[in-house]
Subunit: 247 residues, 2 copies
């Protein structure tokens, strides 16, 4: 799978002159200029039949035939034809028609996975991890609602499915990044190195793309604060000590 | 916390003649005769101010001051007074007014945790576990909808919060039961022993209480089938091979 950040270049060099009929997006992330892959495919490449495949899918497990279930969204018709590709495999498909929603979920869960890695490094426990995942899901649902996307899709495999996976395993790149970030800080090996700034940049890009107001998103705000160098303990305390509210 | 199955006896012997004003339910489960604790409290004990506290909360972590967030529901007023108990602690409270919904979620997630233990014992992988949790959440949401309960509460800490925790850790009694069940089978130590039949009974009770139709609940059906002795591999294949559908 091509990293999303390289898609824009790739599409200009290789895809622009091809006649593509069906196009399945498997990359999770934004392009270099902060666009969703489906936007580039529609606008620059004039592809009409777009699909997105997303959900809990560590590649190694998929390749070795271990079972998983994934979300497959299409933009204009029942994705029957495409889903036939997965018949009698270890992959079970659930349809929807929410391309952009699934793409946004795929981008945003990576940011929260950084936070889960931070919790893990701080040994905050299993209750904290489950609470964190639940409240991240709630913030993600809020983002969808605010962006006029289908907020019910938070319950999809591309939503909580992928969130649960990415927030639970060192096999996840972003989870590992959050964990490593704390270890680097504690061993004083921490400097504003390139990786760190990239992590922060991707959060800032999605904030701009979705026009988010950080005051509505306390967990996202705390993750940004920690990456900027603030104390995790203070951030956790601030999150716990807010005025209690309805869920 | 008193086990829910012993609540009916306890309430008759100790609570019946007391004047109780506020009553917080922390037990997750059904009474011996298959009733929800809030039903017994309301009908037999005439308690009017009932609360339920539920969510991801392994006791050991809560006691040692590790952070968690929990759902607190009340039946008739803002649970402000009760939530004051948790001010400046390691516990963060989220309100709602859905006592019965939260109780049902607390019962049902234990059944799905048995399934998660079975997956773990079979080493089906992390993709499978995340897919399983997501589709269990979907079945639980369906059960709430069918029972005229608030199906949006699947996203609460008492919903996916507790589901994620119980489906991820051997510290969960039901997860461990599912795991042990498979090991007993594979070492031929398996006989229709008492524990096993109790596990099955609790599934059957909730099925009756909520008036569930198993054909709407493929994962629940498969868990029952495995506990009755059918092959896990066949059940997993059956789940994967069903006709693809919308999520």
């Amino acid at each position: 799978v091509l990293p999303a950040s390289q898609f824009e270049n790739f599409s200009q060099s290789y895809l622009a002159n091809q006649k593509i009929k069906n196009f399945i997006i498997c990359s999770k992330g934004l392009s270099e200029s902060g666009k969703l892959i489906s936007e580039i495919a529609t606008k620059s490449l004039n592809i009409t039949k777009i699909f997105i495949l997303s959900g809990p899918s560590f590649a190694k497990e998929v390749i070795t035939g271990m079972p998983t279930a994934l979300s497959l969204a299409s933009n204009n018709q029942k994705p029957l034809q495409t889903s036939a590709l997965f018949k009698d495999t270890n992959i079970r498909i659930y349809y929807s028609n929410n391309i952009k929603t699934l793409e946004v979920l795929g981008v945003v869960k990576n940011i929260y996975a950084i936070g889960a890695g931070i919790l893990e490094a701080m040994k905050l426990g299993e209750n904290a991890r489950a609470s964190f995942i639940t409240r991240c899901a709630s913030e993600m649902q809020f983002m969808l609602k605010q962006s006029n996307l289908n907020d019910q899709k938070i319950l999809s495999l591309a939503g909580i499915g992928d969130l649960v996976l990415t927030c639970s395993s060192t096999k996840s790149r972003n989870f590992s990044f959050g964990k490593k970030f704390i270890f680097m800080q504690s061993t004083k090996n921490f400097s504003k190195n390139k990786t760190t700034i990239e992590g922060l940049n991707s959060i800032m890009t999605i904030k701009k793309v979705l026009n988010l107001n950080l005051k509505d998103l306390p967990i996202l705000t705390s993750i940004i604060n920690v990456i900027k160098g603030k104390s995790v303990k203070n951030e956790v305390n601030n999150l716990l000590r807010r005025k209690f509210k309805y869920e």
